[in-house]
Amino acid sequence: MSEEFDPRTERTRLAVAGARSATMAALRDRPTGEAVRSRIFQALIMFAVSVALLGLAALLIDAFVEGEGSLSLNLLTEPTSRDADNAGFRTAILGSLWLIGGVILLVVPLGVGAAIYLEEYANRERWWNRIIELNIQNLAGVPSIVYGILGLAFIVRGPLDLGFVLAAGSMTLGLLVLPTVIIAAREAIRAVPPSIREGSLALGATQWQTVRRQVLPAAVPGILTGVILAISRAFGEAAPLLLLGAATFITADPSDPFSGDFTALPVLIYEEAKQAQPELRELAAAGIIVMLVVLLAMNSFAIWLRNRYEQKW
């Protein structure tokens, strides 16, 4: 502070102070309407998220509270039984694994093959390729019961005439998730930048060599993620299997893809939940927990895989 009062210095000081407070005010005060609107929007989003989360949490807690009493290792090791105390899910779990094994064998080559064709070879100018694309997108939204009817008419009976066997279930579930796999694989293949293809082709590699040695390896993490998510869906489907002869209370483990007596985890849960005895309903809740654990494990694996091997371009 200067000792003497100099009006010029004082004027400068005041001008600076005024400019500073104006700046502060401009920085601090957001127009009220704008602030309110952004608050409302935020609240709406939070509401949407919490509805989804609450629904899931309610389901989990309900299943856990009801099924907690029945949770034990016996669930995994014991076959199905009318006697709730000794009943487990072994036949159903094995049946589901057999079904899923078949789905993988069917869906990976077909889905990846179709995705390679559509992304790398198909000429989008051609009308049939556009129709194929549109169809695949629509098929991904067809309800699963419709696939069940399709499987019943064409695989169990009709042209293939396999009968009510496990393989028919695999094929139907495979058809059900095929569009999802194709779409996921296409996304993964499309994410490989064109410059990689150009680099490979410029070295004199053929288109097939380029696809097989550059594009596919780079797309594998994305494809695998899609396949796992599709399989999770197939794993949880009960509706089509009900039409395809998945039995319920059977005690024999499935022995081969063409064994007629098979059941699956969701089918058994559905059957047990329908029963009058409270013990069986409790068992169904325990089955839901088992299934959720398996599904969450699969989805976590998919996420881990994606994070671990995802290529940043």
Partner: protein, 297 residues
Amino acid sequence: MTEQERRTEAQRAGSEGDRRGLSQAIAVEQERPSKGLKRETLFELEDVAVLYDGNPAVREITFDVFKNQITALIGPSGCGKSTLIRCFNRMNDLIPSATVEGKILYHGEDLYGPKVDPVQARKLIGMVFQKPNPFPKSIYDNIAFGPRTLGMKGDMDEIVERALRRGALWDEVKDRLGDNAYGMSGGQQQRLCIARCIAVEPDVILMDEPCSALDPISTGKIEDLMMEIKDDYSIVIVTHNMQQAARVSDMTAFLIVELDASEKNRTGRIVEYDETEKIFTNPSDSRTEDYVTGKVG
């Protein structure tokens, strides 16, 4: 893949045989923009045009590219330099809407002839792109991919080392050949792409603005590299950087862009093609002079 080797041999032998015939042909065709210089011709372009959906991107391109020389294509943005260079190894075949008209002879052979397989052509005529595009693999596998795909014989470690040495990259990466190529700097990635191209021992290397994404030091390294390998390879380079063209190239083609009557379509045409020194010091066309002296562009 001995078939491939035989093919390469045949191509090389063929070019040896053609050498006398071609130089005579050049001597006769005085009016061509090659100016009758007695060099060995590599590519002969005759009224070449490239059309996208029927609209010409470049047209009336006629000039000769010579062996073991660095040929630069310069010109303002949108004049079709990149389109033109992609004709030399039939990369335009990959764009469904593109058609190439006119004639391009490679060692006297019609590059777009009905019996020419574009895959075979690309084995002999390699390309380095504007943005470094290493494969998402190890440094080693980036180099080994080409030789493996082409079924080249010999010790792969040796092939990789030789290519990396030629690419002036060996000393920097010899201790981390297994590392992912995406961990390298941009300049290293681009040298890797050049080394990858060299590994399959092509006859010609096409470079489409290879330094446009690089800093001056990396650019200098790549220019040194080009000067070093030009005894063994013929190089065609597209560049935005006129100093670069002046520094490294032996021959320079200057292209301009013209608007058509409707002012919708831009078409590139060649204005002048000559020795680089002449283009930069004493061009015969005033438009070239304006461009190289920085008055326009």
